[in-house]
């Protein structure tokens, strides 16, 4: 669509509050399982922390001259605690996985449902790449978070909390000393995340750019050879490699600083707790066993703390992915509830332009008669495709009206509208699915005979030979443009609407077969209103009426013979096309 070369409007991205609400919804949807998971993690951590605490008891016991049997008893209790911890952590993991699995399924299903309800104009403006990323890779990032990283970090966080509680249990004063390192750690992590987030994004961007450049060199390899573009491609590719390296070095710099600080803080905490424990022990406020318990608990804190810190970045990416997914919710939708009375389609005094651009149509009126075959011709850029979009209810006129059965087309619900009007464009999407599934879109209960009949009508002999179970798609049976076009036309035959708008629908089929396809299509659509938009004139001659569009206006209209006799624009086009 030449007239749509405007910059894409990105889909909205949810803010932090909406992301928090979304996380809340995910947890709240399955509250019993969520709380069961947290409880199991908590008790697993509590039992594992009992190990250093009981070690302190052993130390004091040895000091007090325990017998071997007493030492063995406490040690047996330690081992028992570890076993209980193992069972609890296994159950916790299992529930955690199942919780994550259910949440992920709910999330991805709701995203797809939402996507299917988006206004088409919004999707086109945003570009399909953005929406595709959100429904596929962003959903996977969040699902992984829910299944794997989420439970892992939850266990670690709970473990850290329980360990801090344990230092308080061992000795409240030492617990306070251990907490001294938490604020600087929090501040450092916050600072790191603030800087790392954009750095990671830039690194990803550099990587995508490298991917795009290298894959373009591959896709356009023949063009590189034929135009001797090797030097340019080399300079470009080398530049991308350099950018990738520079971005990574920036990330490395941030990571080095943060991890250095993290290591220092962790072991610094051990030194501080040991110092405090020693001073208090010398003053007689602490038994040796308690001091050792506090010190060994502090040694333990380092591992889960590091675990949480190294996962922070991934959590941030997960939140960013969730923000993009939730953004799909923020796309404004207009209710379309009008119901048409009849199948009379018309445009009256329509002006229209894309975005903030200038008017493309200037007060255009067009009244296709029911059952008529109307061909719209005119030079590229005259506004032919725009007429098709307005009639199909994709865009809303700036002024004037486009109506079906007396109500504005744009206000008719999509499900209702497509029973009456179907638009076929040059873009023929083929789904990765069986030929049957590619055809039955409009009539899910159509039997095979009806599908075969439709394929026969659009002259798709290859499809009849290969059978309805053939799986189509780029990795299975690849279709040529002409074959994809035949599929698109067969869908229309099966959908059987009152009005069909064909926007250059046969442009990719080579001239010899185009005529044949059009003839059979005309037969298949007999009795329907057909509005065919064409830059070639094959179809014009046999049309009931021809409308010539120039500069966003209907310049002239009539039958082939009338327009030839008039000797104006159409006559000129016709003679040019014939090579006279």
């Amino acid at each position: 669509m030449s007239t749509m070369a405007t910059a894409p409007d990105r889909l909205p991205v949810a803010g932090p509050a909406e992301v928090r609400r979304a996380v809340g919804r995910l947890l709240a949807a399955d509250p019993r399982r969520a709380s069961a998971v947290l409880l199991l993690y908590f008790f697993a951590a509590a039992f594992s922390v009992s190990v250093p605490i009981l070690l302190g008891k052993v130390v004091d016991g040895i000091g007090a001259g325990w017998s071997g049997a007493q030492v063995n008893l406490v040690c047996a209790v330690i081992l028992a605690c570890v076993c209980v911890q193992f069972v609890l952590s296994r159950l916790g993991r299992l529930s955690g996985y199942r919780f994550g699995e259910r949440a992920a399924a709910r999330l991805r299903e709701s995203v797809v449902e939402r996507v299917l309800a988006l206004p088409l104009v919004q999707v086109e403006r945003a570009g399909r790449g953005d929406l595709g990323t959100r429904t596929a890779s962003d959903v996977n990032v969040v699902a992984d978070m829910l299944r794997d990283n989420g439970p892992t970090v939850a266990t670690l966080v709970i473990e850290v909390v329980v360990l801090y509680v344990a230092t308080f249990v061992a000795s409240p004063l030492l617990g306070l000393v251990a907490l001294v390192t938490v604020p600087p750690l929090y501040l450092a992590a916050r600072r790191y995340l603030r800087r790392a987030a954009p750095a990671f994004l830039e690194q990803r961007a550099a990587m995508s750019e490298a991917a795009e450049t290298v894959s373009a060199s591959g896709a356009g390899a023949r063009t590189v050879e034929s135009l001797a573009l090797q030097k340019e491609r080399r300079a470009l590719g080398y530049g991308r490699g350099q950018a990738m390296m520079d971005r990574m070095l920036r990330v490395v710099k941030l990571q080095t600083d943060f991890f250095t600080f993290l290591l220092m803080i962790n072991r610094g905490q051990l030194v501080l707790v040991t110092l405090a424990a020693g001073i208090w022990y010398f003053q007689g406020g602490l038994t040796l066993g308690t001091a050792i318990a506090a010190i060994t608990v502090t040694v333990r804190i380092a591992n889960p703390t590091n675990g949480v810190m190294t996962q922070l970045g991934e959590f941030q990416q997960g939140a960013a992915a969730l923000a993009r997914i939730e953004g799909v919710n923020l796309v404004p939708t207009e209710p379309r509830e009008a119901r048409p009375d009849g199948a009379d389609l018309r445009m009256d005094g329509v002006t229209f332009g894309y975005g903030d651009g200038p008017d493309v149509l200037h007060g255009l009126s067009l009244h296709p008669a029911p059952g008529e075959r109307l061909v719209v011709v005119g030079p590229s850029g005259a506004g032919k495709s725009t007429i098709a979009r307005l009639l199909a209810g994709i865009d809303r006129p700036r002024t004037g009206t486009a109506t079906l059965g007396g109500v504005p087309v744009y206000d008719i619900g999509v499900e209702e509208l497509r029973k009456h009007v179907v638009l076929v464009t040059q873009e023929h999407y083929v789904f990765t699915a069986s030929l049957r599934d590619n055809l039955i879109l409009a009539a899910p209960d159509a039997d095979d005979d009806r599908l075969v009949d439709a394929l026969r009508r659009v002259d798709a002999r290859w499809a009849l030979d290969e059978g309805l179970d053939t799986v189509l798609g780029p990795e299975h049976r690849k279709l040529t443009t002409a074959e994809a076009q035949q599929i698109a036309l067969a869908r229309v035959v099966i959908a059987d609407p009152d009005i069909v708008i064909l926007d250059e629908a046969t442009a990719g089929i080579d001239p010899a077969s185009a005529g044949r396809v059009e003839a059979s299509l005309a037969a298949a659509l007999a009795g329907r209103t057909v509005i065919a938009i064409a830059h070639q004139l094959q179809a014009a001659r046999s049309a009931d009426r021809i409308a010539v569009v120039e500069d966003g206006r209907i310049a002239e209209a009539g039958t082939h013979d009338e327009l030839l006799a008039a000797g104006r624009i159409y006559a000129g086009l016709w003679h040019a096309w014939q090579g006279d």
């Binding site: 030492v71 193992f86 050879e225 390296m245 060994t296 590229s380 039955i440 229309v492 070639q536």
Partner: protein
């Protein structure tokens, strides 16, 4: 730049990447070794603090050992960070090197690579695969760092009591030996699950791709239902995987703690027996706790190294694809007409030749042979086209098809010639609407911000601007309206007067300007003559005339 011989194996690729960074890597290993030597003794000092400080009630010894620990606490992160920096820098350089290798290789053998590597894979190679393969060096560093910590720590625990050392080492080894294979099994169980995730994402992408169809003609309900079905199946599969996964994760998490408990028990017996000090017990416990992380690192590094190997293998496969055409011709200054014996198609040295055929593909094949995009017996004057260097063939014979690629850039960079020359070509191709947004207007990858007709006319303009001696164009105006096509035919014929131009099309608008018309049937030249002469044949007339009999 002399092309380096392609690396034959992933190992050679990875070693080749390490070679120029030898000094940096040695330095990195030294820093990591130093960091391990600073890290492990801190835990040993814990024992000294307990024995010589607390139990002996010596404040001065307590202070001395604590000061020593504090010094190590400061030194260790600095040493570690320096090691990390060395390895990460090499990793970043490796990423750059891989992108460069791929870029150079595509310049050398791009057409062969394009035929054998899918578009999706080509996107992954310089990004995800390069990232994974480049990581190998960092993970080798981490592996070494972990090993050094393990060796130093084991020696220190051994010095406390050989029995504790034995338990610790065997415990770590057993943990790694059990956890490693368990993880491998988990991954193979998950591969089916992962594949289903991939399928489901592809399904979602398919829905987005065909959204216009689904909304415009129906099927949204059908596709949503199918997606839900598959999503439910995936959830069930996930439930199945959750069982064994939870065992494995719990084992990985708990086994080290089991060893901590065992060490505690053994240590407690030894301490009660007076064979080790209480400080020794505390130190052994701390070591065991830290070794939890260490044995996990071994497994983590190994996984990343395996992933790096797989990525390197994919890169090597592509780098090993050689050029599809030999370039050993030595002939110079090709002259005379181009002739394709297979089809009988000949291109006169000047004038507009139009090939009319019902099967465009055959004519396009003949053009590929003439322009040497595939090997054949095509002749240039008296010699085969193959006997000329490719550079000469490419510079003088140009093939224009709808497959020609438009690269990201501006209009100016797309045209590649000075503005006046480019303007002429754009006018000849009737592409003025493309230029109406200015000379610096953006052209996106593949020309996706242009309409089909605009792309076609811009490609034609670019080919005309290059002014090749011979231009072979296949259906150059199939997406253009009649009025414009007629203008283009006239302007191209005029602009390329005196040079050889061949156009494959059945349009009478081009034939009106043809010096010679060639009628091809079933991939062979059936008749040659002027358009008017050939029109006498009714089969030709049906093909090459829009008039209705």
């Amino acid at each position: 730049m002399p092309p380096a011989p392609p690396p034959l194996t992933p190992l050679r690729l990875l070693l080749g990447q390490a070679r120029p960074n030898r000094a940096r890597l040695v330095l990195g290993f030294l820093f990591y070794a130093g960091a391990s030597c600073a890290s492990m003794p801190q835990l040993w000092i814990v024992g000294k603090i307990v024995d010589d400080g607390l139990i002996a009630r010596s404040a001065s010894d307590f202070a001395m050992w604590l000061a020593a620990a504090a010094a190590l606490v400061v030194a260790q992160p600095i040493l570690w960070a320096n090691g990390f920096r060395q390895f990460s820098t090499v990793e970043a350089r490796n990423q750059r090197a891989l992108v460069r290798d791929l870029t150079d290789h595509l310049n050398r053998a791009g057409t062969a690579v394009r035929d054998r590597v899918s578009a999706g894979e080509l996107l992954n190679l310089p990004s995800e695969d390069a990232r994974r393969a480049a990581r190998a060096v960092s993970d080798a560093g981490f592996f070494f760092n972990t090993l050094a910590m393990f060796v130093v720590g084991s020696a220190l625990v051994w010095s406390i009591h050989p029995l504790l050392g034995t338990v610790l080492i065997s415990g770590s080894v057993v943990t790694a030996l059990i956890a490693g294979p368990l993880l491998g099994r988990l991954q193979s169980r998950q591969s089916d699950y992962r594949a289903r995730i991939g399928d489901l994402s592809a399904h979602a992408a398919d829905i987005v791709g065909g959204l216009r169809v689904l909304r415009g003609i129906g099927g949204d309900v059908l596709f949503a239902a199918r997606y839900r079905e598959r999503s439910t199946a995936l959830r069930r599969k996930g439930y199945e995987v959750a069982g064994p996964s939870s065992w494995i994760h719990a084992l990985r998490h708990s086994m080290p703690i089991v060893f901590v408990a065992v060490i505690t028990w053994v240590g407690a017996i030894l301490a009660a027996d007076g064979q080790i000090t209480i400080g020794g017990l505390a130190a052994a416990f701390s070591f065991a706790t830290i070794f939890i992380a260490v044995s996990g690192n071994f497994v983590g590094c190994s996984q990343y190294l395996v992933a790096a190997w797989v990525a390197a293998k994919r890169i090597v496969r592509v780098l090993n694809i050689g050029p599809d055409l030999a370039d050993d011709g030595t002939a110079r200054d090709g002259r005379g007409e181009l002739r394709d014996p297979d089809s009988g198609l000949a291109v006169p040295v000047s004038g507009l030749t139009v090939v009319v055929t019902a099967e465009t593909a055959h004519a396009a094949d003949a053009c590929e042979r003439l322009a040497r995009y595939r090997d054949s017996g095509a002749l240039w004057g008296g010699e085969t086209v193959e006997s000329y260097p490719l550079a000469e063939v490419r510079a003088r014979i140009m093939l224009l098809t709808d497959e020609d690629h438009l690269f990201t850039g501006t209009l100016a960079s797309t045209m590649r010639v000075p503005e006046p020359q480019a303007r002429q070509a754009i006018t000849a191709a009737c592409a003025d609407d493309v230029a109406s947004l200015g000379w610096d207007r953006a052209v996106e990858e593949g020309g996706r911000n242009l309409s089909g007709g605009q792309r076609q006319r811009l490609r034609l303009a670019r080919a005309l601007a290059a002014e090749p001696e011979t231009l072979l164009a296949v259906e150059p105006t199939s997406a253009v309206d009649a009025h414009t096509e007629s203008l283009i035919a006239a302007r191209v014929a005029a602009a390329r007067a005196g040079r050889a131009t061949l156009v494959v099309t059945a349009s009478p608008l081009w034939l009106a300007h043809a010096d010679l018309a060639v009628w091809m049937v079933d991939g062979k030249v059936h008749a040659t003559g002027t358009h008017a002469e050939l029109l006498a044949e009714s089969a030709y007339r049906r093909l090459a005339s829009h008039s209705v009999d």
